[in-house]
């Protein structure tokens, strides 16, 4: 389209409306995010009284100091890193080979297996039978309860399968096979090196899931030493309390409760930032990969 088409008056009005509507959307989404950042470095009393409404007031890093001194948060952080790394590795080790096999046209049984996997998207045993199974397997209060029940997601296997089908040329596979290349070698030496984008997308999808997940921990873990960050956050943000390990136990019950509330109030906004920090840091670089993943998935269901 070479020539520039002149905009009519109606189109100009539409443009102005459009730009302003998007601006409103931008502000509505952005405001709470900025507020949290500002509140995390502001004097809590000014935040609570409403004097702080956009930019930090009464600048203080006291909240962050308390967060970094808190054993519980540290332990939760380390646990979460561990669950995320281990969980994501397991996810990738299960998802990628399976997706590759299902992508191969000469794989006898691919239709049946795909159907078997996809069926679980719509039918499941539900919460209680799954819980009883995990219990029977002896996984309660172990690391495995955090990584095995979500070892793979059907949707992600489908996305990978589509990616392999679209990007790995059949000719390449055929010629490699002629050279006497085994399927295993082909997957490791040819398919994986060509699949960096989808591996990145998968690692991110699964990784974010592990990082943000709390429900498995809630039902399968009772040992506080195993708690991931999100469960610690739940105590601080939702139940508004800190366990006694974080505060001075020798205080009388009433004052202890009071100080716990205070403590929770001061670190409230800080922990939101700290817990989301890894995602905030990688997000700008990886946003397009995320988007790519969704789009590959939307190509064909």
């Amino acid at each position: 389209m070479g020539a520039v088409i002149k905009e009519t008056k109606a189109d100009k009005i539409f443009n102005i409306f459009n730009i302003s509507f998007l601006f409103i959307a931008l502000v509505v989404v952005l405001y709470p995010l900025i507020y949290i950042v500002s509140a995390s470095v502001s004097d809590p009393s000014q935040v609570n009284s409403g004097e702080m409404w956009l930019l930090p007031k009464g600048f203080t890093l006291e909240g962050y100091k308390l967060i970094f001194e808190n054993d519980q948060i540290w332990r939760g952080y380390l646990n979460t890193i561990f669950y995320t790394v281990l969980g994501t590795l397991i996810n990738l080790a299960v998802t990628l080979p399976a997706a590759y096999a299902l992508a191969r046209k000469d794989f006898v049984g691919r239709g049946f297996l795909t159907g078997l996997f996809v069926l679980t998207m719509f039918f499941s045993g539900g919460l209680i039978p799954t819980y009883l199974l995990v219990k029977d397997l002896g996984l309660i209060d172990t690391v495995w309860a955090m990584v095995l029940p979500n070892a793979a997601a059907v949707w992600n296997i489908i996305i990978c399968r589509i990616f392999f089908q679209v990007t790995i040329p059949t000719e390449l596979e055929e010629s490699a096979r002629m050279d006497g290349c085994s399927n295993f070698k082909m997957f490791m030496k040819i398919v994986l090196p060509l699949s960096a984008p989808i591996i990145a997308v998968m690692a991110l999808f699964y990784g974010v899931g592990h990082w943000n997940g709390y429900f498995n921990a809630l039902i399968y873990l009772s040992d506080k030493n195993l708690y991931p960050l999100q469960l610690v956050l739940r105590e601080i943000l939702v139940m508004q309390e800190m366990s006694s390990s974080a505060t001075n136990i020798s205080e009388s019950m009433a004052t202890a409760l009071h100080s716990k509330e205070q403590l929770a109030a001061i670190i409230k906004y800080g922990v939101m930032i700290v817990s989301t920090l890894p995602i905030i840091i990688v997000y700008p670089f990886l946003q397009r990969y995320f988007v790519k993943g969704v789009m590959i998935g939307s190509l064909k269901g």
């Binding site: 109606a10 459009n18 039902i219 700008p284």
Partner: protein, 327 residues
């Protein structure tokens, strides 16, 4: 690479040729394929084990919904009681309230949450690629990555009657502060609108991808015919989105009664329970907190059956009316 493989290819071609004529029949060929690709079976094995163990065994375990499950006797050893647990659930005083909450929260979410990503995508599509478009996208996608726990924490902090920023604004405008989370009338709006804030931007991605696929020639022809932007959106872009909309609608409805359960659980408190208790949270409370395994499994199964029926019905309707469907 191409030359070396090509030469090897020629050498290798000699050997298999002698075998080919013998394998005209289908069956041996299939068997040979299986043998040749035995490693591929090893590739799917972990996934197969995972789905069998963590998805199909629980489906088998669902039979406890029809039994009086006693852990010591195991799933198989426990006694059959038929539909007793279902009957107890249907007769309970909370049944209609649970059903009403579950349905109304989901319908509310669908009515408000479904069209917004479409509208946002249509509007974003009209902006030229550049910093403005990019920043709107980057910012609106971002909340999607906030965890449910942090999201619940934000809601609780922002909506607090005494210290929350929302109520400070309400007071500034001269109104009384609202106890959002202690008021059953407000719970559903809080739940749905916070979800809109978190997921609308992310939801635009699929629609933007679909819009990128619209043929530019159609737009050019429409411009020549004097169509305005609004007209082009109405008559070109929206029809182009229909298949995507239908598929997403079916998928949404397939998950109808499970959506948002984790967030509801986090925002629930005794004061808003009247409107926040849904079937999924009830299963959690009855099953895991009160250890009524069989009863909770029966309630969960009831939920799943409604889901499956909705999915099939909506899929059929979609098939008939728009010729788009999941199967």
């Amino acid at each position: 690479m191409s030359t070396s493989t090509a030469t090897v290819l020629q050498q290798e071609e000699e050997k298999p040729k002698s075998n080919v004529p013998k394998e005209k029949k289908k069956k041996p060929k299939k068997n040979r394929k299986i043998l040749e690709n035995w490693q591929l079976y090893l590739f799917v094995l972990p996934a197969l084990l995972y789905f069998v163990i963590f998805h199909y065994i629980p489906m088998y375990g669902l039979q406890i919904a029809f039994k009086d499950f006693i852990p010591a006797l195991g799933i198989w050893g426990s006694e059959w009681v038929g539909f007793e647990h279902f009957a107890r659930f249907f007769d309970s005083y909370y049944f209609w309230n649970l059903l009403k909450n579950t349905l109304s929260i989901n319908v509310y979410e669908l009515v408000v949450g479904f069209p917004l990503p479409i509208i946002l995508a249509l509007l974003l599509n009209e902006v030229k690629d550049g910093i403005y478009k990019k920043s709107v996208q980057t910012v609106t996608y971002a909340p999607h990555f906030i965890s449910v726990v942090v999201m619940a924490g934000m809601i609780i902090a922002f909506l607090s009657p005494a210290t929350g920023i929302v109520n400070h604004f309400i007071e500034l405008l001269g109104f009384e502060p609202i106890r959002f989370l202690a008021d059953p009338d407000w719970f559903k709006s809080v739940f749905v609108l916070s979800g809109v804030w978190q997921n609308t931007g992310w939801g635009t991605i699929i629609y933007l991808a679909a819009l990128a696929g619209v043929d530019m020639q159609q737009h050019e022809a429409a411009i020549v015919d004097g169509a305005s932007r609004l007209q082009r959106i109405l008559y070109i872009n929206i029809p182009a989105l229909v298949p995507t909309m239908v598929i997403l609608l079916i998928l949404n409805i397939g998950n109808f009664l499970a959506v948002g359960f984790e967030k509801i659980l986090l925002l629930q408190n005794p004061l808003n329970l009247e409107s926040s208790n849904v079937i999924a949270t009830f299963v959690y409370t009855a099953g895991l907190l009160e250890a009524q395994y069989s009863f909770a499994a029966a309630v969960g199964l009831f939920n799943a059956i409604i889901n499956a029926i909705l999915l099939v019905v909506v899929n059929q309707i979609a098939k008939k009316t728009s010729e788009t469907s999941l199967w």
